[in-house]
Symmetry: C2
C-alpha cells in the first residue's frame, strides 16, 4: 500500500474520507505489471474529484505511484482512493485541504469460469437507491447503500445483486453496471439520479458506437429485464458476466401458508 | 484520541469506515469532565449501529473509554465513531467483523454570544437531500450531502445552512435539527425519508411533552418557515440558536442585469 507516496497501511483518524466519506475512488486491474485503461480511469477520477470539489492529484504523480504498485504486484486489483484529507471537526471543507491518496493492491479474485461463459445467478435487492443528482454517477466513498444491498444475500450461488431505485427503475449491480439486449439493440440505465458510472460501461457504449449497434441510455424497469433477450453486467475486475438466472424469491419456511393450508383442508367452516 | 482502547491517531487504511462510510457516530459535550447525556447518546448509537447491522460496543466499554477522554480533556467536544472495521475488498460485510471504535476530543468552539441570545443568520442550501428511508434518521458516516451543502456559503455572518429535500420539504440544518414555533405550538420536520435525528431534537420533543406544549412532527415547507413566529436550531454542541434572518439571495455582481439595464436606458429600439 502506498499512502501519500510512502509505503504504509494507516491513515489519520481525522481524515475526512473516514469522517464523512469525503472522497472518491477507482478500482482497476493490473496485468503483467500494466494498469489496464489507466488514462481512462484517471480521467474518470479527475471528473469525480471535480464533482465534489477536490483537486485531483496530477496524472504524473498517480501514474508514478501506480507504477510502483504494479511493479511489486504485477497481477492484482489496484484501488486508488482520493480524500479531502485530515481536518478538524466541521462539514465545511478547508480552502486548501491536504488531499490524501491511498493506492492499494489485492489479489485478483478467482471466480468460477462458468460465470463469464455460462452466466451468473443474480439477486434482486430489496434496498431501493435514493436519488441524489449531485452525486449520481460518481464513484464516491458514501457507499452504505451498496453495503446494505450486498448484505441481503448469503447464497454463494448468487454472484451479484441488481439494484432498483425509489421509482422502481433498474439502475445497476451492487458493484457493476448493467446492460440488456433486445432485438439486437443494447439498453443501459440512465444514471443521472443515482448509480455509479463505471469505466466498463463507457467502454461498452463506445464499442456499440464503433460496431454501429444501437445503444440507448434510458429508464428500465423489471419488466424490461424479464423481457430481455440477454442481460449482462460489467466492471473492471469481473469483465463481463451474462445473467442466466434472476432470483427473486425463495421460500424456505411457510408458517402462515401452512396454517392457512391446514385450515383450508381441515377447517370446519 | 483513543482507538480501540489505546492512545493513537491513525486507523487501518482498509477500514470500512473509510472505504464505504460503513459506520456511525455521535458528537457530545464534555463539561467539567462529565459527558453530557451520555446514556441517551449511547442508546442512539446502539440504535444506529443496529440499523446498519453493526454490533455496538458495550456501554461499559465505551463509558470507560469516554471517561479516560473526559479526564484528559474535561472541557471538550467528544466524537465517538464506530465502524465495521478493517476488511478486504467487497461490499458484503464479514460475518464477524472486528469493529473499530474511535474516541476523540476537540476544543469547544467559541461562538459569538449573540448567536444564542439574538439569533443567527442562516443560508437556504441549494443542495436537496435525497430520500433513503433505510438510512433516514441515522447518524452514519455517509455525509457527502452535508459536506456539499456546507460548502455553499463562505460568509462568516451565516452560522448555519438549512437543507430541504427533493420534495422541497424543510428537513434540518447541515449539522442541527430544526423547530418552528407558530401560535404557541412547536413543529419539527418528519425525518423518515432523510435527515439525522439528533439527541437534542429528542430532548426538545420530550420537553414539550413535559410542558404540555403541542409539538408536531410533520412535513414543513419554506412557506411554513417564512410564516413562523420563531425558528430555532439545536444540536449537542451549539445548544439552541434562534434564527433571526433567513438569507436566500444576495447579489454582488450583475453583469446581465446591467447589460439589459443599459439597453433599456440607452438602447435605440
Amino acid at each position: 500500500m502506498i499512502i501519500n507516496g510512502l509505503p504504509g497501511d494507516s491513515i489519520s483518524a481525522n481524515d475526512r474520507g473516514l469522517m464523512y466519506g469525503d472522497g472518491v475512488f477507482r478500482t482497476l486491474l493490473i496485468r503483467q505489471g500494466k494498469p489496464l485503461h489507466w488514462l481512462h480511469h484517471y480521467n474518470k477520477l479527475q471528473h469525480d474529484c471535480d464533482a465534489i470539489g477536490i483537486v485531483c492529484p496530477s496524472v504524473q504523480l498517480l501514474t508514478s505511484e501506480l507504477g510502483q504498485l504494479a511493479q511489486s504486484q504485477p497481477e492484482s486489483v489496484a484501488k486508488i482512493v482520493i480524500t479531502r484529507g485530515p481536518a478538524s471537526r466541521g462539514y465545511a471543507p478547508a480552502a486548501k485541504p491536504q488531499i490524501t491518496r491511498i493506492l492499494s493492491a489485492s489479489n485478483i479474485p478467482e471466480y468460477p469460469d462458468t460465470y463469464a461463459a455460462q452466466g451468473i445467478k443474480v439477486h434482486i435487492c430489496k434496498l431501493r437507491l435514493g436519488h441524489q443528482p449531485r452525486l449520481a454517477g460518481i464513484k464516491h466513498l458514501n457507499r452504505l447503500e451498496n453495503v446494505l444491498a450486498a448484505a441481503e444475500w448469503d447464497d454463494h450461488n448468487i454472484a451479484e445483486g441488481i439494484m432498483l431505485d425509489e421509482n422502481e427503475h433498474v439502475i445497476e449491480g451492487t458493484r457493476s453496471n448493467l446492460f440488456l439486449v433486445r432485438d439486437g439493440k443494447l439498453y443501459t440505465p440512465d444514471l443521472s439520479r443515482c448509480g455509479v458510472a463505471g469505466l466498463q460501461r463507457d467502454r461498452v457504449i463506445a464499442y456499440a458506437r464503433q460496431q454501429r449497434i444501437v445503444c440507448k441510455v434510458t429508464e428500465l424497469e423489471m419488466d424490461d429485464l424479464l423481457a430481455a433477450d440477454e442481460i449482462f453486467l460489467v466492471n473492471s475486475v469481473i469483465g463481463l458476466w451474462p445473467v442466466r438466472d434472476i432470483h427473486r424469491f425463495s421460500g424456505k419456511h411457510f408458517p402462515v401458508s401452512l396454517q392457512i393450508q391446514d385450515w383450508l383442508n381441515n377447517g370446519s367452516n
